[in-house]
Amino acid sequence: MWGDTTQALAMMFLFSWIPHYQSAPGQPRITSCRSPEKETFTCWWEPGSSEGLPTTHRLFYNKERSDKVLECPDYHSAGNNSCFFNKAHTSIWIIYNITIVASNANGSTFSEPLEVDVMDIVQPHPPENLTVTVVGVEDNPYFLVQWEAPHDTDTRSGWVTLKYEVRVKLENSRQDQAGEWEVYGAGKQRELSIYSPQPGGKYSVQVRCRLDQGLWSEWSPAAFISVPNIYLKEKSVVIFTATTSAFIFLLTVGILVIKRKHVKHCLLPPVPGPKIKGFDAQLLKAEKSEDLFNALTSKGFPLAPEVPDHVDYLVVVDNEEDPEGTGTKAPQEHPEHQKTHQHSSSDPADEFHYSYLSTEEQLNLIHTDRWKRSVFVSDCQYCDPETTCGTRQTFTGGAQTTLQRPERDEGGSHSTSGKTKLKNFDKDTVSTGPNGLEEYVDVTDRQDCKLKPTTEEEEEGGEENYSKVSGVYCDSVLVLQKGSSTPIQTLTKKNCDDPQKKIKGEKPSTVKDLSNTQDYVGYV
């Protein structure tokens, strides 16, 4: 057991313990051991601090299950601070225990021992003679990468099996950064085809190898290759075509946008609106009802001569049940008028009966131009007998004409209302000036809502037509028209849903030009 090895080691330990003023060299360290072909191997070490003195390094080893301490057979073949074990000194599948001893004049220092089995430290040299060529037809090129095994490996005897790996990188990538390496396994073959390289690209190729399950070698020196750019010509054609089509497209879109109305008209023809013969919308806008209605009723209705300054208004009150009252009142107030009224009614109809006023002439007779009156325009929202509206109204002229229709049987209320109306009228000071035109009397309108009823009759029958009535709203509203050129219209019952609305619709015209107002709404 205690052979030469141990003695030598003991001696060395003793030597290291001898005190010395100048220190022994620093401890060396084994950096690595490598076998490139599984037949030889080399170990390298780095020395410790030399302390300024010449230091020698020696390598000692012993093999597994053997106590013999052997020294490195070759210190020079692999360079400085190395030990090369040739084939004769290399045994695979055996553990080597290696130690470096650094010694100078003052002493020796041992390194840490390293146990190594050659099987574990196999790392070949990189492959050699790497060549890359671009092969293939113009439109489908590919790389052909070829290399050779490192010269010192013995593959012919089957002792080792080399496996290879190739990596490729695009040098001039567009992202202004180095491209990524693409790694391809090549197995045992010594060539590789890489397909679909980027035209116009510059590539660098490297290859490495390993023995069986050993360590990978270093990457071989890079080989560079440039791929011809065959797409330039095709690209220009494509670009030209794309540009032209884009231009045409934009042009078309622009034209469509500019002429969108025309296109819209063409594609989606507008639905024609209803047309009334002779109706001119422009006239309506111009607020000239005379022309408007002229246009409308040019055929059937005689046009009345224009009486520009005359505003004929008609207050229709139903006095049938109390003809006396009316009779009394009327003559009280305006007896002469009534007389005239009566007088004028020379037609076969009864005195108090005006069944049909077909001509404006008659109306004119009735409503003389002396009178100028305005019909009450009530702002009453609610025809509530209790409330007073308090609306001021101008009442020019004090004349009041009543048309009596004894035929109709009005409801008592109506006549009453009519009477009431009259009464109202009575209350108010009504006076007519000499010409009957200039005087203005304020008439506080109270319950004008009670004015009325004759409208109903007209609605029912058509026997009595008030030419000036342009419309009837519900039961309490009577719209009268300006006299002059207004044609006689049959009254129609209008929708009573929203009288206010309609009134309002007509109101603007009323408000604007009182003297020229066409429609007046009489509340009954």
């Binding site: 599984k38 037949e39 597994e64 299950r65 084939k87 290399t90 045994s91 695979i92 599948w93 055996i94 553990i95 225990n97 840490e112 021992p113 146990e115 089995d117 099987m119 013995d154 593959t155 012919r156 005897s157 089957g158 002792w159 099996t161 045992k188 069986d212 399950q213």
Partner: protein
């Protein structure tokens, strides 16, 4: 009656198919056609070599896992004095030594190695399966390794038979049928630990792989050597 006959015929047909399958995918050549047989021998060798490479890879993985998790210190002093149970088997420790060895001897060494590991590997798998430290993945690897040794041994047996049939080696290869029941024990008589077993097997599987390659390139050199 006809039913029995059809059944019998089917049975015979199945047997024939089975026999064909056993013969293998090698082209059926009349006996004596050397070209036909050599090709199949090369294929057999390739398969066996692949098998041994895979086995060695597995053993390396297991060993490194073991080393990583259970033995953090690299400088294990007892490593130097470790002795595998197969150390008694004389194996060439280098390429020249292996090339100097005769084909028969080389074949014999391979067979001895494979046979020596049949039992220890199953023991290893069992001990690994029982221990809580190993995950199921490692345990499965050990089992796979154990099966592989078994398969590889059979494969090498077939190759040997083929070689003997072809007259490439003499019939003096012995020790194939009688396994040496070597219990894995060190010199001092203690049983080797799991780690030591793994280390030893890793080494031996590498030996087997290398020896097979050498053998192949010596016997059928024209195919991939």
């Amino acid at each position: 009656m006809s039913r029995n006959r059809t059944q019998a015929m089917l049975f015979v047909a199945l047997l024939c198919l089975d026999l064909h399958a056993r013969v293998g995918s090698a082209p059926i050549c009349p006996h004596g056609h050397t070209g036909c047989h050599i090709l199949s021998l090369a294929d057999l060798f390739d398969r066996v070599i692949q098998h041994s490479a895979r086995m060695h890879g597995l053993s390396s993985d297991l060993h490194s896992e073991f080393e990583q998790y259970f033995l953090p210190s690299k400088n294990h002093i007892s490593r130097v004095y470790r002795k595998c149970h197969t150390s008694n088997i004389l194996t060439p420790n280098g390429k020249e030594n292996a090339q100097k060895l005769a084909r028969e001897e080389l074949t014999e060494v391979i067979m001895k190695l494979l046979m020596a590991w049949r039992d220890p590997l199953s023991q290893l798998h069992q001990s690994m399966a029982h221990q809580q430290d190993f995950n199921s993945f490692s345990s499965n690897k050990a089992l796979e390794m154990s099966d592989m040794v078994h398969e590889l041994r059979k494969g090498v047996e077939k190759v040997t038979e083929k070689m003997q049939l072809l007259g490439m080696i003499s019939n003096s290869v012995s020790g194939l049928s009688s396994p040496e029941a070597l219990l894995p024990a060190s010199e001092s008589g203690e049983a080797l630990s799991d780690y030591e077993l793994l280390y030893c097997f890793r080494r031996d599987s590498d030996k087997v792989q290398n020896y097979l390659k050498i053998l192949k390139c010596r016997i059928v050199p024209e195919h991939g050597c």
